[in-house]
Symmetry: C2
Subunit: 244 residues, 2 copies
């Protein structure tokens, strides 16, 4: 089984995705937020690239059935119900709602994966269930990291490494690309201390400077939202286990 | 001083290169070969993307003043004088010659760098002099790794890490992108045993399978061709120290 990791969604040939399981990672914070919302009982999450797209989509929904969610360059969007902080996505707020979400890097990565056989969401909050799901599928798997401003972002790559570390313990026949090997070594090297590993990284520093330490602490904690989120026909839902 | 590392030459915005020092790395084997040729006294190296381009260029040169050099997918090119093995680029063969060179990944990376303020060649064979040169320039520096078939290639990234490791010892004010941080950590992690680090990497395995272990051994030895090679106006020459 082939495993490849891409540091950004840019410059990915369609053939790299076709017939593959694609695992989208934006650990700080889009996929952490999406998975937390699914875990806390939201109906679905619809990712959009532009703010206008979110507002237009919202016209198709009953009042009180949806929430406008997301951020631009870390900050909340005027007039939106929720920012991109996973801590806001409590059961009380999101239960049974449709979340219309736009984020700077994450939703671009999700939409890029549209040609894949299956697209699932990943962050530190669900690494164990993602690894189990991939091991069950036994299909070639591609990790697409959202990156930061089109650049390699350590936070996302080490999250791929966390999943690959678990896959290595479960399977013998992994054929890994170079960045898959590097990401797993990076994960092992830090012995679970993600803060030390990431303290010099661009996105981590930017979020710390914006006062988002609590979000970082949450997003770098393993398996707090242990659900598989599947993106299909433009909508992200919690995997119905009877379909698996 | 900003340091960024790019895993491939693709998807690099022109603004990332303008006014920067660009360091091109294709350690297995194009930049190792170019630097070895410059160290052994060739007049200049002219990188070309296509085989036809090399053959057309050669018509402008006197017989015996040039050599046709390069590879396609690791293998020598029919009718060319030299392959892409640095071990063939002895003083006896290359002294005072113009080398017309085409390689699968390396020459693409070199030509991509054309918008930079200065473009220099790097491999394990010249890491010390490259670090000294960058430290003297004091300009923002971008490492462009050639990659393998458009993918992240560990051999190139760890070579960037070797240079950055030396820069960190020389300078205090480095502002590093995430892949710069990762590459330097990767370099430190292997304690100089590049073979152990790279044994599971795609390009290394492909070259071993092609019987090129001697080339790999040479290319992964530090500072055997300690020259700065500068690409300017389409031609790579050894840096004239009086210009520096």
């Amino acid at each position: 089984m082939k495993l490849n990791v891409y540091a950004t969604p840019d410059n990915l040939a369609d053939k790299e995705l076709r017939d593959k399981v694609v695992v989208v990672i934006d650990v700080l914070r889009a996929t952490s937020t999406i998975l937390t919302a699914l875990f806390n009982g939201c109906k679905e999450v619809i990712p959009a690239i532009e703010i206008e797209e979110v507002i237009n989509m919202s016209k198709n929904y009953e009042k009180d059935s949806f929430l406008l969610c997301g951020e631009r360059n870390i900050h909340a969007i005027d007039g939106f119900h929720l920012s991109n902080s996973p801590l806001e996505y409590t059961a009380e707020r999101v239960s049974d709602k449709t979340l219309l979400l736009t984020t700077t890097n994450g939703t671009r990565a999700i939409r890029r994966a549209i040609d894949a056989r299956e697209v699932i969401m990943c962050s530190m909050t669900n690494v164990d269930v993602v690894a189990e799901h991939i091991a069950q599928q036994q299909d070639d798997t591609v990790f697409i990291c959202a990156g930061t401003d089109g650049q390699f972002s350590m936070d996302d790559v080490v999250t791929a490494g966390a999943v690959i570390n678990r896959l290595k313990a479960m399977m013998d026949d992994l054929d890994m690309g170079d960045l898959a090997v590097v990401s797993e070594a990076m994960y092992r090297s830090c012995n679970g201390d993600f803060h030390s590993l990431l303290k010099d990284s661009v996105h981590y520093k930017r979020m710390m400077a914006a006062g988002l330490k609590e979000d970082i602490d949450y997003c770098l904690t393993l398996n707090t939202a242990p659900v598989v989120g599947v993106y299909k026909d433009g909508v992200i839902k919690k995997l119905d286990k009877s379909e698996n």
